[in-house]
C-alpha cells in the first residue's frame, strides 16, 4: 500500500532522514520506534507532504507522493494525527469534525459519520458544541483521531498519540488504536511507549539518527534490540 524508497529529507541544513525505506501493507499496524530525534515524526511529515523529500520515492497504491501537497495527499486517502494533536482550539468539536470531512463533501454521509464518531467517542458527542481548546488532553486526542477518521482514510498515521496523557488515558488510546486496527484501518504508528507499541503492532521499524536500523515482527525486535535502551538512546541491535 505504502512504500518509501531511500527517502532523504532536510530541515534547512540539517539532514533529518538519510535513506529511509519502509513499507506498509493494507490492513497492517506498522510502528516506528526510536529515541527522540531519530526521524520518526519527520518520516510521517514527509509522507503527509508537509516536508518535501530531497531524494527518494514515496509510492501510495502505486501513485507517487513526491511533489504532492498535503491537501492532495489526504485526498488520496492518507490522514495524519500529528504530535500535539493540533486540534483547532477556538473551533467547536463539531466544527473540527466537519473540517475533517472536508475532502468528502457529502452532507448525508457527513451526518452518518458524525453519529458513528459519537458512538466511537461518546465524550465528543457530549461536548459537540464546546470549543476544542476547552477539552482535556485525552479528549483532544480523541477529537484529533476522530477528525482524521472523518476523511475515511485508507491509511491513518498517528504521531505519539499517548504523549502527555495520564496512564489511564494512555490505556484508552492504545485500546482505541487496537479497535481501529480490528476494524480494518491500516495504521502507521509512531510512539515513545515502545513496550505497548510492540504489544499491538504487526511489524515495526527501529529508527536511529534518520536511518532504519532494524525491522521485523515485534518478537524479532524484542529479541534483537535492547528495548530499555530505546528509551535511553543507547539501544544496541544484535544484543543476542
Amino acid at each position: 500500500m505504502l512504500v518509501l524508497n531511500k527517502i532523504h529529507a532536510r530541515y534547512g541544513a540539517i539532514t533529518a532522514l538519510r535513506g529511509i525505506s519502509l513499507k506498509v501493507e493494507e490492513g497492517e499496524l506498522v510502528a516506528l520506534i526510536g529515541v527522540n530525534g531519530a526521524g520518526k515524526s519527520t518520516t510521517l511529515s514527509t509522507i503527509a507532504g508537509v516536508l518535501k523529500p530531497v531524494q527518494g520515492e514515496i509510492q501510495f497504491q502505486g501513485q507517487s507522493l513526491v511533489g504532492k501537497s498535503p491537501e492532495q495527499i489526504i485526498r488520496l486517502g492518507i490522514a495524519m494525527v500529528p504530535e500535539g494533536r493540533d486540534i483547532f482550539p477556538s473551533l467547536t468539536v463539531e466544527e473540527n469534525l466537519r473540517l475533517g470531512a472536508y475532502t468528502r463533501n457529502n452532507r448525508t454521509e457527513y451526518k452518518q459519520d458524525l453519529d458513528e464518531m459519537f458512538e466511537l467517542f461518546p465524550i465528543l458527542g457530549k461536548r459537540m458544541n464546546q470549543p476544542g481548546g476547552t477539552l482535556s488532553g485525552g479528549e483532544q486526542q480523541q477529537l484529533a483521531i476522530a477528525r482524521a477518521l472523518m476523511s475515511h482514510p485508507k491509511l491513518l498515521m498517528l504521531d505519539e498519540p499517548s504523549l502527555g496523557l495520564a496512564p489511564a488515558l494512555v490505556d484508552q488510546i492504545f485500546e482505541l488504536v487496537v479497535n481501529l486496527h480490528n476494524r480494518g484501518v491500516t495504521i502507521l504508528l509512531v510512539e515513545q511507549n515502545v513496550e505497548r507499541t510492540l504489544d499491538i503492532a504487526d511489524r515495526a521499524y527501529l529508527m536511529r539518527t534518520g536511518k532504519i536500523e532494524d525491522e521485523g515482527t515485534p518478537q524479532h525486535l524484542r529479541e534483537r534490540v535492547d528495548i530499555e535502551g530505546v528509551y535511553l538512546g543507547d539501544h544496541t541491535p544484535d544484543k543476542a
Partner: protein, 297 residues
C-alpha cells in the same frame, strides 16, 4: 450633551472603523501580514467612483457596485501576482512586497489621474437627514450603521455556518493542519484577500462619502485606523478587530466632543495616549484570540 445625532455619529464611525479593521485582520489572521496595500484598495474604489462619475455613468448604485467589485478584484489580483510568489519566503520579503504593492498602486493613480484631489459623485441619500426624536440625523450615518451591521452579520454567518468560513478560521489558527485536512492553501488565502478587498470597497463608499473627494493618499488614514483598532481589540481574532473598531470610533467621537477647541488639533495625540494606556493593561488587546503566530509556508 449626548444628542441622538452625536450618538448615531459615534456608532456610525465605530461601525465604519470596525469594517476597516476587519478587512485588515482577515488577511493578517492567515498570512500574519499587515497588508500595507489595504489602504490603496479603498483608494482604488474611490477612483473608480470618480472615473465612472466623470464618464456620466448612472444611477449611483451602478457606480457603487462597480467600485466595490474593483477593490475586490484588485485585492485578489495583488494576492495572485504579488503575494503568492513570495508567500513561502521570509517575513521581510512579504512585508517589502506589501509596501511595493502599496507604492505601485498609489503611483499608478498619481501618474494616470492626478496628485490633486478629485470630487466624487455621491448618492443623493447621503446628503439627506431624517428627524428622529427631534434630532436631525444624517442618512449617511444611518446607512453606515445599517450596512456595517448587515455586513458583520453576514460575515459572522459565513464564518460560523459555512465550511469555507470554518476553513478560514481554522487556517488562521493552524494553517498547516488545515491543509492536511484537504483545504487548499491557495483557495483559503485567495478568499481572505477577496473578503478583505470587498470590505475595503464598501468602506470606500462611506469613507469617500464623508469628504466627497478622493486623492492618491486617501488610503493612509483608514490603514492607520485599521491597524490601531486591531491593536486595541487584539490582532488575533475577528471579534477583536470589530471591538477595536467600535472603541476607536467611539473614543474618537468623545474626544471631538469634549476636547476644547484649542486642543482639537491634538486629538490624534490624545487618541494614541489612550491606546497606549489600553496596551499597558492589555498588551495583547482587549479580546483574546485563537490565532497563533504561525506563518504559512
Amino acid at each position: 450633551m449626548f444628542t441622538l445625532d452625536f450618538v448615531i455619529n459615534a456608532i456610525s464611525l465605530g461601525s465604519l472603523y470596525a469594517i476597516i479593521a476587519l478587512g485588515l485582520v482577515i488577511v493578517y489572521g492567515i498570512l500574519k501580514l499587515v497588508n500595507y496595500a489595504y489602504g490603496e484598495l479603498i483608494m482604488i474604489a474611490g477612483y473608480m467612483l470618480f472615473l465612472l462619475g466623470s464618464a456620466g455613468v448612472s444611477p449611483w448604485i451602478i457606480l457603487g457596485i462597480t467600485a466595490v467589485f474593483t477593490a475586490t478584484l484588485v485585492s485578489y489580483l495583488t494576492e495572485l501576482v504579488a503575494f503568492r510568489p513570495v508567500r513561502t519566503k521570509s517575513m521581510t520579503a512579504i512585508l517589502v512586497t506589501s509596501f511595493a504593492v502599496s507604492t505601485l498602486l498609489q503611483n499608478l493613480v498619481l501618474l494616470i489621474v492626478s496628485p490633486r484631489s478629485r470630487a466624487v459623485p455621491l448618492p443623493d441619500l447621503f446628503a439627506k437627514s431624517v428627524n428622529i426624536l427631534g434630532s436631525d440625523v444624517s442618512m449617511r450615518n444611518i446607512l453606515t450603521i445599517v450596512i456595517s451591521l448587515a455586513l458583520l452579520g453576514a460575515l459572522s454567518l459565513l464564518m460560523k455556518r459555512t465550511i469555507l468560513g470554518i476553513a478560514l478560521r481554522a487556517a488562521a489558527e493552524n494553517f498547516t493542519m488545515t491543509r492536511m485536512l484537504g483545504v487548499p492553501a491557495n483557495m483559503v488565502i485567495s478568499v481572505a484577500f477577496i473578503l478583505s478587498g470587498f470590505l475595503a470597497g464598501v468602506v470606500a463608499l462611506f469613507w469617500v462619502g464623508r469628504s466627497g473627494s478622493v486623492m492618491p493618499t486617501i488610503g493612509t488614514a483608514p490603514l492607520l485606523i485599521a491597524f490601531v483598532a486591531c491593536v486595541i481589540g487584539g490582532m488575533n481574532s475577528l471579534t477583536g478587530a470589530v471591538v477595536g473598531g467600535y472603541i476607536y470610533g467611539i473614543i474618537f467621537s468623545l474626544l471631538s466632543l469634549f476636547l476644547p477647541q484649542s486642543l482639537l488639533d491634538y486629538r490624534d495625540a490624545f487618541m494614541f495616549a489612550i491606546v497606549i494606556l489600553i496596551l499597558l493593561f492589555k498588551p495583547e488587546g482587549l479580546v483574546k484570540g485563537g490565532y497563533v503566530p504561525e506563518r504559512v509556508g
